[in-house]
Symmetry: C5
Subunit: 86 residues, 5 copies
């Protein structure tokens, strides 16, 4: 999974019907730069600045109540920035 920080929200009025009810967040990977920012769907309610765990590709479907064409989903909000053993 990718560990990232929520940086903003993406709004789309013209979109696929089966995306209704999903929020789209800009997520910047920890240790990544602006170039690495991607968009993840969210149903947990992550806020700007929160650290989140994101799963990708087909495994997103196990975080949804119905199939939807999204390849990145927030699966959890991280309690604290994890310590790294050197």
């Amino acid at each position: 999974m990718i560990l990232g920080t929520v940086k903003g929200t993406v709004y789309s009025t013209r979109k696929m019907d089966n995306l209704k009810g999903l929020k789209f967040l800009m997520v910047q990977p920890v240790n990544g730069g602006r170039k690495d920012v991607f968009v993840a769907a969210d149903t947990i309610g992550a806020g700007i600045g929160e650290l989140v765990l994101v799963t990708t590709d087909q495994t997103t479907q196990y975080a949804l109540d119905y199939p939807a064409p999204v390849d990145a989903m927030v699966i959890g909000i991280v309690d604290n920035p994890p310590a790294m053993e050197s």
Copy 2:
């Protein structure tokens, strides 16, 4: 998902039968360069210069009425370039 800008159209006469009816767009990721351009299928009708959300890999199938060998699909047109909290 990838946030990108539509840069052009790709035409292919000799192609798989189950690709009929799909439009193919050149998409440049936001914050990405020319080297990162990829091709996404589109059924929404995104135009040159529009900002789009693209899903990838197997999750493309949830944006199609029938199975097709495409690994990137436009799932929505973004209303405005999203603001990024620093």
Copy 3:
């Protein structure tokens, strides 16, 4: 999808049984370099120097008559190098 140029053919005598009948091509992504070359399976008959569209991962299976362990398949031959709006 990846837009790439066919650069060569890969021959393999000792291979999985369910790969019989597939041709393997070296494909260099457009705007990519030698380091980015990958191998795609082909059933359309793309030739050296032709520009092709390649789909990846599990979606390759929708371009096959039977399941096969290939993660990249040529799905179309591109008519002309696409123009890019700047």
Copy 4:
């Protein structure tokens, strides 16, 4: 698969229900740098500093007793750093 070293643990209280019972580890790929660190789920019990094999994407599901939205799973603990023939 990715060969990596366990660097830390990620804790998440607010998370998807079907993630209960999984431990989340920070994993740094061998030959990779800090920027490449990712998070893998673990049920084997890998410890900090151990060298692990990690599988990704949909194939994680074959390492689970039930479907879960995780795209990286520890599948084994490596006995010794592998020797590389030059």
Copy 5:
């Protein structure tokens, strides 16, 4: 698919039960460097120094007799280093 050279073997005693019978090889992509080395499962019997074709992600399952959590599998041994048309 990735074209790579077998560089070594990875041994893991503590591993998932459904990995028994699979050999794990260090594979370095052709034109890639040490940083790009990854681990692929093998049932064909590729040896150190041999050039192999590797498929990734979910498509690995079509190269197995039973489902297993591996995201890279050797699918063939390449006869000769392929010539590249410039």
